[in-house]
Symmetry: C2
DNA sequence: TGGTTATATTCCTTGACGGTTATATTGCCG
DNA sequence: CGGCAATATAACCGTCAAGGAATATAACCA
C-alpha cells in the first residue's frame, strides 16, 4: 500500500494513470502526452508495474499498458477511517474555523 | 493533491496520521511511538503541515497536532474514477463476497 | 538479411529526502 | 532571574529517485 502511494506521489505517473483511464495505451501515446523523454516514461511505467498499478500486454513491437486497480482499492480502504473525519465530524465546522492559508491543489 | 500524496508516501508520516486518528497529540507522544529522533518527527510534522494534513494548536510548551482531513478528501475524490474500475470490471466475485462496509456504492 | 520502429536498459549527473547531532527558541517554574 | 522541558531549526551526510543521452533488444517489413 505504501508502495502504491509512493508510485502515485509523482505527477507524471499520476498523469499516466489518468491517461490510462480511457483504456489501454501503447507507450508511444504516453510519451506524446508527457513532457518527458521516452526512457523516462518507460521507467515510470516500470515503477507503476512494480507497484502493481499497471499491466502490460504485448502487441507486436508495442506494449499496451492498462490499469490494474487493486492497489488503488487498498488505498481506498486505507482511507476508510479518515473518511469518517470529514463525513460526520468536522466538515462545515472545519471550513468555518479554517484560518490557515490553504492553497490546495484541485482534485485531479 | 499531489502534495498530499507525496506527504503520505512515507511510512513514518502515515504512522503519524494513524496515531492522530485517536485525537490530537503532542509531539512527544509521537516521538515515543516512532522509531526515529525528535527532530525527524518535527520535520515530518512540518511536511504534513505544509501539505495541509495536520493542524497545530499551541498548549504551553507543547504543540498539539491534529488531522486536517481536507487533502484526504481530495485524494478520495481523485480516486473516484478509478473506483469504477474495480466496481464494474473485475469484481463480480468481490461484490458477491462483499464484506466491506461501503455504504456509498450506488446500485446501477 | 538489413533496416526501421517501438520500447527497455544502462550510465551518469543532479537534486531532493530522511536521518542524526548540535543548537536555537519558547514557555514554565523554582 | 536561572534552569529545565518541549519543540523547532540548522548543518551536514548518505542514499535514492528522476531526468537525459546513448545503447541494447525485439519485432516487423522490404
Amino acid at each position: 500500500m505504501v508502495a502504491a502511494l509512493a508510485a502515485l506521489a509523482e505527477p507524471h505517473r499520476q498523469q499516466i494513470l489518468d491517461l490510462l483511464l480511457d483504456g489501454p495505451r501503447p507507450v508511444g501515446d504516453l510519451v506524446a502526452a508527457l513532457p518527458v523523454s521516452q526512457p523516462a516514461v518507460s521507467k515510470h511505467l516500470r515503477v507503476l508495474r512494480d507497484a502493481g498499478l499497471v499491466d502490460v500486454r504485448v502487441d507486436a513491437q508495442r506494449r499496451l499498458y492498462s490499469i490494474r486497480p487493486e492497489p488503488l482499492r487498498a488505498v481506498d480502504e486505507w482511507l476508510a477511517p479518515y473518511r469518517r473525519l470529514w463525513a460526520d465530524r468536522l466538515d462545515a465546522l472545519e471550513r468555518h474555523l479554517d484560518r490557515t492559508a490553504h492553497t490546495e491543489g484541485e482534485p485531479s
